[in-house]
Symmetry: C2
Subunit: 336 residues, 2 copies
DNA sequence: CTGTTAGCGCATTCAT
DNA sequence: ATGAATGCGCTAACAG
């Protein structure tokens, strides 16, 4: 490890004081341009890197953001992580991972303990942890900044989301345009806001097409493949079978396709199937799945950038909405 | 955030010096049992948590391990992460994520920069970063501890792996026992040791069954679904079609099944397909995939525990081998 | 615009 | 077995 280059060494090399170096490093004002250049040159020449712990200790900041999650899809989370890391890198921040069990009675204890231990400067919340009232209340008490990704209540907090209801509505328009009128829906996990929004989009789509809502065509799910299987078994064995099934996510849609094939039905000739999320798997099953692409990586990046800005400026940002894309593939087709 | 409880406060409450509290906290010897108890009581009563940065600054340790990865399957990586976090939690360590581009010319720069910035006490390497000679050499220079998960050269380093060759061999035994003799193989990414091992297991399996090796039945792949599709297109259009295909991972196996179905072949009646990794997807496609389960979470945990031990004791551990499991499912069946 | 001083909270000598 | 003094590397508050 050799000997560490310290800020003092840089100061000496540049012929200024430690504090001036500190100012340059932290982009603080009140430094003449030429000294700034001189200091920067010394920093580069010595390949100086601030010691994170020292900076943190003296500055009363941890330079840490915590990413809270509860059993999300690995693909989704990895995208979010990549985005958050993108954002953190630009600002010398670190990210720590915080797997949590949202439903557990010790949920808040786990959070408190993590905060006490790691002292993050801010948190990024992913669904469904975005919607834990006790958590949000406590964070406000602690004056700890947080950004939410796709939270249920979007008016009141900083974060990022897509218009899920409208995306689901668009998907319904697609099915309707193919001639479908008996369209089934498998709901998502009841604890996720996304489930409500997507169901709402389904209903909006029916209404727009003048198709009466039929409760038999809507079944419970919980975003898992298995729940998709169960939902499909119900829907595909109805006396009057739906000609299309809109599952609230891709995993469930994969379950639907599995059941359909097992029952000897062709997809999409006998039944069209679509999902939501555009997971890699959606492209790997046969037939490739029609779905909605949600820019999860961008959402992670944006949430983190908002959070970092809020930490710096000590004031909260807005809820940002960003665009989604429909991916029309082979699992949906015209009414046969 | 109220006022922070410091070690000094605990010392005062317990009627001892800071140093004694420090000793108790760090499980150092030379503390009488009764004072240890008294100090611990004060720690609990005040709900004292050491300040990570202060501890790190004074102790010349970062309490950080870096997890290096390059574009792995999200499912695999999330399992490894969960295991590493499990291990870190028990020892007050933190984990940082380090996505890298192994092939890039700036790979080593990225690593150097990460190390200089974050000063991790150790690294956990995942394939194929386990096999970057320049990296390993540099880590030795820096005397930075690292643990490797499934590295190519297992003799020379600390880490954890399964016996992949034997697992692939077992899978071949399974296919042979079903009556298959024309068995195709789609290789993994050439940069991953796993590709070699699994191919070796394939060859060992052929040899054991007295089946001559046919180069036409082995095609290149790179672990991606698409490469599985390409491989299957070659194999399934051979004049003498294989009756079984062993893909070196699940993603490629999924590609094979897709192609088979597209060509009007039934799985497993017309062609058996198997993979490797037991990804969640392997259970979600139709038919469910026969594969090898690799205990990735355990591997993450074990690698991290080894690393933390090595950091503490300043000496390197061994390469540990842990068990795998064959998952026999519906994508393989008797030769029709 | 720049420098000086103090101290963040802890572990680490070296005493005793 | 325990304690007092010192400093890790940096930023903050103030001084100039």
């Amino acid at each position: 490890m050799a000997v560490r280059v310290r800020i003092e060494d840089v100061a000496e090399a540049a012929g200024v004081s430690m504090k001036t170096v500190s100012r340059v490093l932290n982009r603080e004002p009140n430094v003449r341009e030429d000294t700034r250049v001189r200091v920067q040159a010394a920093v580069d020449a010595l390949n100086y890197k601030p010691h994170p712990s020292a900076r943190s200790l003296a500055g009363h900041k941890s330079y840490l953001v915590a990413l809270l999650y509860d059993n999300p899809s690995p693909n989704y989370l990895m995208e979010v992580i990549a985005g958050v890391l993108d954002a953190c890198e630009t600002q010398q921040y670190n990210m720590m991972m915080c797997p949590l069990d949202f439903g557990s009675p010790t949920f808040m204890n786990a959070v408190e303990s993590m905060i006490a231990h790691s002292q993050p400067d801010g948190l990024i919340l992913t669904p469904p942890i975005t919607d834990a009232p006790a958590l949000l209340k406590r964070l406000d008490e602690l004056e700890l900044a947080y950004a939410s990704i796709s939270p249920r209540k979007q008016k009141q907090c900083m974060g990022v989301a897509i218009d899920e209801t409208r995306a689901a509505f668009d998907m319904m328009q697609h099915l309707v345009s193919l001639g479908h009128r008996r369209i089934g829906h498998i709901k998502g996990h009841p604890e996720h806001g996304a489930s409500d929004w997507r169901l709402q989009g389904y209903r909006d789509g029916l209404q727009k097409a003048g198709i009466p809502f039929d409760p038999d065509l809507v079944v419970d799910g919980e975003f898992s493949f298995e729940s998709g299987v169960r939902g499909a078994e119900k829907l595909l064995q109805l006396r009057e079978r739906p000609t299309a099934i809109f599952a609230a996510n891709d995993d469930m849609a994969a379950g639907v396709i599995g059941v359909a094939l097992r029952l000897g039905l062709r997809v999409p000739e006998d039944v069209s199937v679509c999902g939501f999320d555009n997971t890699p798997m959606s492209l790997q099953i046969y037939p490739p799945l029609t779905t909605v692409h949600q820019p999860s990586r961008d959402m992670g990046r944006i949430a983190a950038l908002e959070l970092l800005t809020a930490i710096r400026k000590r004031d909260a940002g807005k809820m940002l909405q960003i665009p989604y894309t429909l991916k029309l593939r082979q699992s949906t087709g015209p009414l046969g």
